[in-house]
């Protein structure tokens, strides 16, 4: 069931109730949960926030709190699985789902009370109609009873009920006629009915396959929740900023098309100007200010040096082939033409000459066409508070991602989650800065890995897709987001260097050993470069390949294109996938 009127059907229902919020490990979900928490705080509603990773985590978290809570809110998780079947909840528990993963599970969509999806059904694409995928199970039962009775006695009493599917009135009128049908005719009818049924099932399977074939992402949950806050007139600058961070994550990780992002930008801009006018806090120290500006797709350049940021950003690095010597020369050429002295380009951006800093954006923009990096410009928001703090939304996203991935021996994933959610508040600037430093390390590591991989020609092609196998456990790449970032960089880099004409049309699969002791490895599928829409067919493909090769696949993450696999099964699995995709 969809809920469109979040204010009345969702929020008002929950007031003065206790609620369990289950949050997935991604930046968008963290932002959404932060906004929700502050809303609940305003209304003194008791809540419990539990971070979870994957389906097993969801089940465990629910089982622990089972019986104590009657309202459960799932943020960025659970939309794509049949919640009722997975968790086996009691009748009085209500689930609210705020999930940006698509496609939504049809059982959730057509649940009449227990599962409520926050969102607008008009925005959802081609959800199959109820009749085409669900069969009236009552009719089925009667059918079966009927068959048994007929087999046993062939008595008349059963025949009356054989028309279980037809509505009552016509059934009654037809009854006398039916009674006269001979046994043969009845048998014929049953065969016909079975055939129709089989056809219907085939059709249903086709529809379901079409529906679930691609996995993609819908609207940012953070933005959706922010709009709820706005309708409740409880929005402020902080909440808006979190929503912006949420949607920026979707853009930067390639979860949504840039077109969809641009459309949302307009809405956000109106929120920004409204809130800026509303707040009358003129004090520079305490006031936060959000500005819309055109910015560059360069990683963390405000907190890094220009050369490094250019080199470690995927877009500029792939277009200029910065891992080669020629690329390096071209970068210098670009800098010369920009009029940016190397001394300045190699020191931290914040220490650069003020004039150069002010002109940096226009300089890059002017030369973008010439150096074939036109897409480097995009619209985004920056947050400034105090005298020194100025962060772009992308800075936040990269920092939070780095924090989420900074799992170490003494630091559990949950700790990372809490740290990331702390880093969002303005009081914990040092956490954010530490995250930014971590993100720099991560991006530098990604670049080095890409460089060595491309130089050693480690990207192999099977004809229908590329694959790239990381042989060793890696401090960074054993985590889904980092591996996905790496895989994307590798694919774009490979496409930029290779001569093969069909390269931009091929997807890439990257794997990295996860845990040497257990012999598991992480597998990530990346959509082809030329593919504009971020739809990813790997979820279904992985599933089928696993069935064909009889390997056990652990599809625990809510991103279906990220799976875990036994290391020893890997070759068998890739073979099956090759067969499947050719």
């Amino acid at each position: 069931m969809f809920i469109q009127d979040l204010k009345n059907d969702f929020y008002r229902q929950l007031i003065s109730k206790r609620i369990l919020i289950i949050v997935n490990y991604d930046v968008d979900a963290i932002c959404a949960s932060k906004i929700l928490q502050s809303l609940f705080k305003y209304d003194h509603m008791l809540y419990t926030v539990v971070p979870i990773m994957g389906v097993t985590g969801l089940r465990r978290a629910y089982n622990e709190h089972q019986g104590d809570v009657k309202y459960v809110l799932l943020v960025n998780c659970g939309g794509c699985v049949d919640i009722v079947e997975l968790l086996q909840p009691t009748e009085d528990v209500t689930f609210y789902i705020c999930d940006s993963h698509r496609p939504l599970d049809v059982c959730n969509v057509y649940s009449d009370r227990q599962v409520c999806i926050l969102g607008d059904p008009a925005l959802e694409e081609n959800i199959p109609a109820f009749e085409s995928i669900f069969y009236d199970s009552d009719g089925e039962d009667e059918d079966d009873d009927d068959n048994e009775e007929e087999d046993e006695a062939g008595a008349d009493s059963g025949a009356g009920e054989s028309d279980g599917e037809g509505d009552g009135e016509s059934g009654e009128r037809e009854q006398p006629a039916r009674r006269k049908l001979s046994r043969l005719e009845r048998h014929e009818q049953r065969v016909l009915r079975q055939r129709a049924r089989r056809q219907w099932e085939l059709e249903r399977d086709r529809i379901m396959f079409d529906y679930t074939q691609f996995s993609y992402y819908g609207r940012s949950s953070a933005l959706q929740i922010f709009e709820l806050a706005w309708k409740l007139s409880k929005d402020n600058m902080d909440l808006l900023w979190w929503a912006i961070v949420g949607i920026s994550e979707q853009l930067l990780l390639g979860k949504i098309e840039s077109g969809a992002y641009t459309l949302e930008l307009e809405h956000i801009q109106s929120h920004v100007s409204r809130l800026t006018n509303k707040t009358n806090d003129q004090n520079t120290m305490s006031a936060s200010k959000i500005n819309f500006e055109n910015d560059l797709h360069l990683v963390l350049y405000r907190h890094w040096t220009v050369t490094e940021s250019m080199r470690y950003s995927r877009y500029s690095a792939c277009q200029l082939k910065l891992w080669t010597l020629r690329g390096e020369k071209r970068l210098h050429e670009l800098l010369v033409e920009m009029g940016l002295p190397l001394v300045h380009a190699r020191q931290t951006y914040s220490a650069m000459d003020l004039v150069l800093r002010k002109e940096f954006y226009t300089m890059v923009e002017q030369l973008a066409e010439k150096y074939s990096i036109p897409d480097i410009v995009y619209g985004t928001f920056t947050l400034s508070f105090g005298y020194r703090s100025r962060y772009a939304a992308a800075d936040y996203v990269y920092a939070l991602l780095a924090i989420l991935q900074s799992i170490k021996k003494h630091k559990t994933p949950e700790d990372c989650f809490m740290e990331a959610s702390d880093a969002l508040t303005r009081q914990h600037k040092q956490l954010l800065n530490a995250g930014i430093d971590n993100a720099k390390l991560l991006h530098a590591a990604i670049f080095r890995q890409v460089q060595s991989c491309l130089e050693a020609h480690q990207v192999h092609s099977t004809g229908s897709f590329f694959y790239y196998v990381l042989q060793e456990e890696h401090a960074f790449f054993s985590y889904p987001y980092a591996l996905a970032l790496l895989a994307k960089f590798v694919l774009h880099g490979h496409v930029a260097t290779t001569r093969a004409r069909q390269a931009p049309d091929l997807p890439l699969i990257a794997t990295c050993p996860l845990d040497a002791a257990q012999g598991m490895c992480l597998l990530v599928g990346i959509a082809p470069v030329r593919e504009d829409s971020p739809k990813n067919f790997f979820g279904k493909a992985f599933d089928q390949a696993a069935q064909k090769s009889k390997t056990s696949l652990l599809q625990d993450f809510f991103e279906p294109s990220i799976v875990q696999l036994r290391q020893s099964d890997l070759t068998r699995f890739l073979d099956a996938l090759t067969v499947l995709l050719t």
Binding site: R18, Q37, F40, K41, H44, M45, L46, Y47, T48, V49, V50, P51, E64, H65, G67, D68, T412, E414, D415, F417, M418, D422, Q427
Partner: protein, 200 residues
């Protein structure tokens, strides 16, 4: 003297310095140090008694300054010891306000027997006083020394606790790394015990 650089009163002074430097709520009672200071006092006193008696018999006034000096050292040692005990007493009182009537195990080890007795007595009198005020109902003075900003606080669970029942019958499952928004009055003790962490 073998410890020529040591002066009278050094030990007592060290005792105080150690207490001041310690980062814990209350350091372990320095039994050894206190005993040494007491021994020093005793030794000084005995020397003084011996010389004073010889003065009585001989009437030699040349030892007067030495006698006075020793006496001053003795007094100083005494003051230091008293200061040590007083400071510890203050901290023990603070413990009562901070942790309630039951001392946590690790802190209890740091106290010596008379101190534990003092704590119990102090606790008793405080409880008796709290019962007497507040129109016959009693009032928990240790609760909020400053008025709270809000009735609810956001807490994060630092260790597994299990089920926790609130006054209104709601049961909250406190598990490590979950975050909750709960009534301040009811979870305050858990925060003090270190099971929950208050997020500002």
């Amino acid at each position: 003297m073998s410890r020529s650089n040591k002066m009278f009163g050094d030990k007592a002074f060290d005792l105080l310095k150690d207490l001041k430097r310690s980062a814990q709520t209350i350091p372990a009672f320095d039994d050894d140090g206190v005993r040494q200071v007491l021994e020093e006092i005793k030794a000084i006193f005995e020397e003084n008694v011996a010389q004073a008696s010889s003065y009585n018999s001989s009437g030699d006034r040349s030892l007067w300054p030495l006698l006075n000096y020793r006496h001053a050292a003795l007094q100083r040692n005494k003051r230091c010891l008293l200061a040590y005990l007083y400071e510890r007493m203050q901290r023990i009182k603070a413990l009562r306000w901070e942790f309630g009537p039951i001392i946590p195990g690790d802190i209890k080890q740091a106290l010596c027997e008379p101190e534990v007795q003092f704590f119990n007595n102090y606790s008793k009198s405080l409880a008796a006083y709290m019962r007497s005020v507040g129109d016959g109902q009693g009032i928990d003075l240790t609760g909020n020394l400053r008025p709270p900003k809000s009735l609810y606080i956001e807490v994060r669970c630092v260790e597994d606790y299990g089920k926790f029942e609130l006054d209104d019958g709601e049961v909250v499952h406190l598990k490590k790394n979950s975050q909750h928004y709960l009534p301040r009055a009811q979870v305050e003790t858990l925060v003090r015990q270190g099971i929950l962490q208050h997020i500002a």
